[in-house]
Symmetry: C2
Subunit: 356 residues, 2 copies
């Protein structure tokens, strides 16, 4: 029976793909994991994440454990520097072509899990008002994550630690002008986590967070938001930033303090743009190649016939995980990965029963 079991194809080797692979393998099912980059770990690895919002665990260590569980598993075959280039067939028997460094390879797989994730909004792309590409001291959440990881939080313009840092929330999110009306869900939490880390590394720095609504849902409220305000004295300002201008060798933030209902001007050394989530190029590409529906933002449409299945795509036997379908935090990613793995293994079982 084992001989006729076709593996599950998992596309993407980030947290979602890794968890899906581990879960399917724990259910006794073989997995073929395809990753475009040269190594596993996905965005947390590629963008050198510092700590996770979960108990401030070291990201490299936590993701490393997951990578080890996958690479050590006898039922999981990993292909890096590889891409799926063709797919036909149907649930239970898809025939896919994978381009690998050693040439093209054909595989028959029973089900497909798409875990191609997100990419950060490019703040220089359409909203020039924050001058990301003009001012070196305007950085993004990703840039800050790498600085925190390196314990080198500095102003890129002069290599000096900043005295005053401002986060601007909702860059590329909740913004109809650029077509991203959705909320990216995690940026409030990530900015707050980074603000705490900045205060830990530079205790004398002042940190401001300019926000529309502070979306610290669930335990982020008590685990991140309250400690940030009370223990770390992070300054939350409900306000809308309209522009960033040079002021000597510093930056002037101009906008409106919506709580006080008055114009606001504040001078800082470093601005962090809380860039939101957009579907990654891999997500867009795989959606087209696999013929699965995307929503108007380019994320993969989830829901299935009931409208309620967070991992069902428009095509039976193909499942979607985490941020390939929507703005997602790490809990969302791991949980949907588990559900997708279970659905995929069940699909494979049905196909097997069908052929006996």
């Amino acid at each position: 029976m084992q001989e006729t079991t076709r593996p599950i194809l998992i596309i993407g080797g980030g947290p979602g793909g890794l968890e899906a692979a581990r879960t399917a393998a724990a259910l006794g099912h073989p997995v073929l994991l395809v990753e475009r980059r040269g190594r596993l770990g996905g965005t947390p690895d590629a963008e050198r994440y510092a700590k996770l919002t979960h108990h401030f665990r070291d990201a490299e260590e936590a993701i490393g454990e997951l990578v080890a569980a996958v690479t050590d598993h006898p039922l999981i075959e990993v292909l890096t520097r590889s891409e799926v280039t063709a797919c036909e067939g149907e649930a239970g028997d898809f025939r896919v072509t994978v381009s690998t460094p050693h040439g093209s390879r054909e595989a028959r797989v029973s089900a497909i899990i798409v875990a191609t994730g997100f990419q950060h909004f490019d703040p220089g792309r359409e909203t020039q008002l924050y001058n990301y590409y003009s001012f070196p001291d305007v950085v993004t959440l990703s840039d800050m994550e790498a600085m925190l990881k390196a314990h080198q939080v500095v102003r890129p313009s002069n290599g000096q630690p900043p005295e005053r840092v401002a986060f601007i929330q909702c860059v590329g999110s909740r913004d109809r002008q650029i077509g991203n009306e959705f909320c990216s869900k995690v940026c409030c939490g990530i900015a707050t986590k980074q603000a705490i880390e900045i205060k830990e590394q530079l205790p004398d720095a002042r940190v401001f967070i300019f926000y529309i609504d502070m979306r610290m849902y669930g335990y982020w409220e008590n685990e991140l938001y309250w400690p940030a305000q009370e223990r770390h004295k992070v300054n939350y300002v409900k306000g809308i930033v309209s522009e960033i201008l040079p002021k000597g060798d510093r930056l002037l933030i101009r906008g409106e303090d919506t709580t006080m209902g008055r114009p606001m001007e504040i001078t800082v050394d470093l601005v962090v743009l809380s860039v939101g989530m957009e579907p990654s190029s891999g997500t867009r590409q795989m959606a087209k190649l696999l013929g699965i529906a995307q929503n108007k933002y380019g994320f993969i449409e989830a829901g299935g016939p009931s409208g309620l299945d967070p991992v069902a795509t428009s095509r039976p036997g193909i499942y979607v995980v985490g941020a390939a379908a929507r703005p997602a935090d790490l809990d969302d990613t791991f949980a949907t990965a588990g559900l997708a793995a279970a659905r995929a293994v069940a699909t494979a079982r049905r196909a097997l029963v069908g052929t006996r």
Copy 2:
């Protein structure tokens, strides 16, 4: 081999337990589902939910589909009006006692999934300032849900449709005084969904939502929040309500409009308290009986050794789903149910391999 397979015990027949049961059975594993009430469906059924935040699907219909999938499945045995009263053993071989209407029953199960959910905060319990138990026209989200389902949105005091309705957010959440520092995550979305439904049923009513932060994360922003403001003209007011007083036969809301920075008084016919989530009595009871750790709020502690596993409890072989562990929306509940089912079946497999 099938003969020696011990079923997975699932405690709780709400959306999380139902999805976990369906997923485990789809993986070919037998399930014993124990539910305290006389019927399946959990809180959406018990509290007569109207529509779901997901595409405004009818809750009764959507949950009914899930119930049918479970009750029709040959691998799932359902015990209603039943409770787990004892548990010993370990992962792979738990011995449990279930009290049923037909007497006590012993079972050997390989793994346990706790899907005992949440209960709504009782607004009369500690915060009397909203006068829930004194004023008939002060109701909760649950009360409103049942009125919407019955197409009978009226003032309980006189049976007349209200002209002005006010939602008050964060009742029992984000509140250190009562010990609930966490955010209940879903109330902003539920209140907004209800506001839209009220406007659909009573187009001439005015609806206000008093909030601290509008936590419309992810697609709730574009699917609920924007339509509520633009199409349905729901009035969002960032403000803190300090008291509700009688004014003739109506209600006077007093507080502070924090955006305008001034005191506010507004007269309405009906007040809806957006009560938050707390662990259900079943969750507290099962945590104690199973010997699994709870967090300081009484929810079941999730995370496991990595800190990142949303369904691992402190005891191997016992998994937790959805709102038994944290404030959770329906996506969270279904996704964690799938992950928990996969983990439980993998545990059962390992035990089986171990005994061969």
